[in-house]
């Protein structure tokens, strides 16, 4: 049976990528999937490299029952582009990031998912697009998360 996946969709751009689980922290993947669909505004990181940053994803159905320090951690500068991780997540709020391009920060985070290889060029394209358009032009973009099986 195929692994479940979720889709990240940027409605204003009519672009999307598919995201599947990786070999660690499956608990986080299942928890996130359980709480979809969700929507927030798109931002990017501004220090140490480029990631797309989703800072307030409402997890309506199940409150967070894990803590970052207990999860398996990876160093962000070492893991591949397209990999996703949770950061400062608690209660009913998830903070999710995806590494888009080079990152110099040697800090460890709980990774749990990754954009599928076929869609990674799309992530890179939208990531750099957001870097310019969010930070300089102040245009607003939303990001949506939906289970692939629900599309």
């Amino acid at each position: 049976m195929d692994e479940p996946r979720f889709i990240i969709r940027w409605p204003e751009l009519n672009k999307q990528v598919r995201v599947g689980p990786i070999d660690r922290n499956r608990k986080l993947f299942d928890w996130f999937m359980e709480n979809l669909p969700a929507r927030c505004i798109q931002t990017t990181t501004v220090v140490a490299g480029l990631s797309v940053n989703m800072q307030f994803i409402r997890m309506n159905k199940t409150v967070c029952d894990w803590i970052q320090e207990d999860m398996e951690l990876e160093y962000i500068h070492e893991w591949p582009c397209g990999r996703g991780f949770m950061f400062m997540t608690a209660g009913n709020v998830a903070h999710l990031c995806f590494k888009v391009d080079w990152v110099t920060e040697p800090l460890a985070y709980p990774t749990f998912c990754e954009v599928i290889e076929e869609d990674k060029p799309i992530l890179k394209e939208v990531g750099w697009f957001f870097w310019e358009r969010l930070l300089m032009e102040k245009e607003t973009y939303h990001v949506e998360f939906i289970r692939e099986e629900d599309t």
């Binding site: 929507r39 927030c40 505004i41 931002t43 501004v46 940053n53 800072q55 307030f56 409402r58 409150v63 967070c64 029952d65 803590i67 400062m88 608690a90 209660g91 009913n92 709020v93 903070h95 969010l134 930070l135 300089m136 102040k138 607003t140 939303h142």
Partner: protein, 186 residues
């Protein structure tokens, strides 16, 4: 007198829903239109309210409320301990948020503290209200980051290694000049 906490929670949740779609008015006023009504901004400069406002917004939500909600996942943390943490951690950052005129977030936080001190005794009710504030605070943090005038940074690019070597090579000139300048007597 604290407001009814459930009414406050409904108001925060409604503001949060709007913040998923559009920038909250208080952040738009400070970061886009440069209007601060409190007198903050030394020399009438906006740089202070932008930086301090965004930083204190992040501290209030992502460092303080977040950590209270997180530590309360431990069921041994009592309602009284949560109340102590709220009173210990939130007021200082809140003062700066208020000063920088991020007014809605400041009011929500002030009223949450009042409710926790005067009205709520149940642990889960406290966490429910703090969770609502945590979501709004996360949205506020994202909008601050988004609205910050990052274009200013283009005037101050991070120096490359070669730039630093060149700057270092010229450092002696400054000392040499100093050595040849007439020194004022004390």
């Amino acid at each position: 007198m604290a407001e009814n906490w459930k009414m406050l929670q409904q108001e925060i949740d409604a503001a949060s829903e709007r913040a998923v779609e559009e920038c909250p008015d208080d952040m738009l006023r400070v970061f886009e239109y440069d209007i601060v009504r409190t007198g903050a901004g030394t020399g009438r400069l906006m740089m202070g309210p932008w930086w301090e406002g965004a930083t204190s917004t992040r501290y209030l939500g992502s460092y303080y409320i977040f950590n209270i909600v997180k530590v309360a996942q431990d069921m041994n943390i009592s309602a009284e301990q949560i109340r102590q943490l709220v009173n210990l951690m939130l007021p200082t950052a809140l003062g700066t948020v208020e000063l920088c005129d991020i007014s809605d977030y400041a009011r929500f936080t002030r009223q949450t503290i009042d409710c926790i001190n005067e009205e709520i005794d149940d642990r889960e009710d406290m966490l429910s209200l703090l969770n609502s504030l945590w979501f709004y605070g996360s949205a506020a943090n994202a909008w601050c980051q988004y609205r910050m005038k990052w274009g200013i940074g283009l005037s101050f690019k991070v120096n490359h290694r070669d730039d630093l070597i060149y700057m270092g090579s010229r450092a002696n000139e400054a000392f040499e000049r100093w050595d040849h300048e007439k020194k004022e007597e004390n």
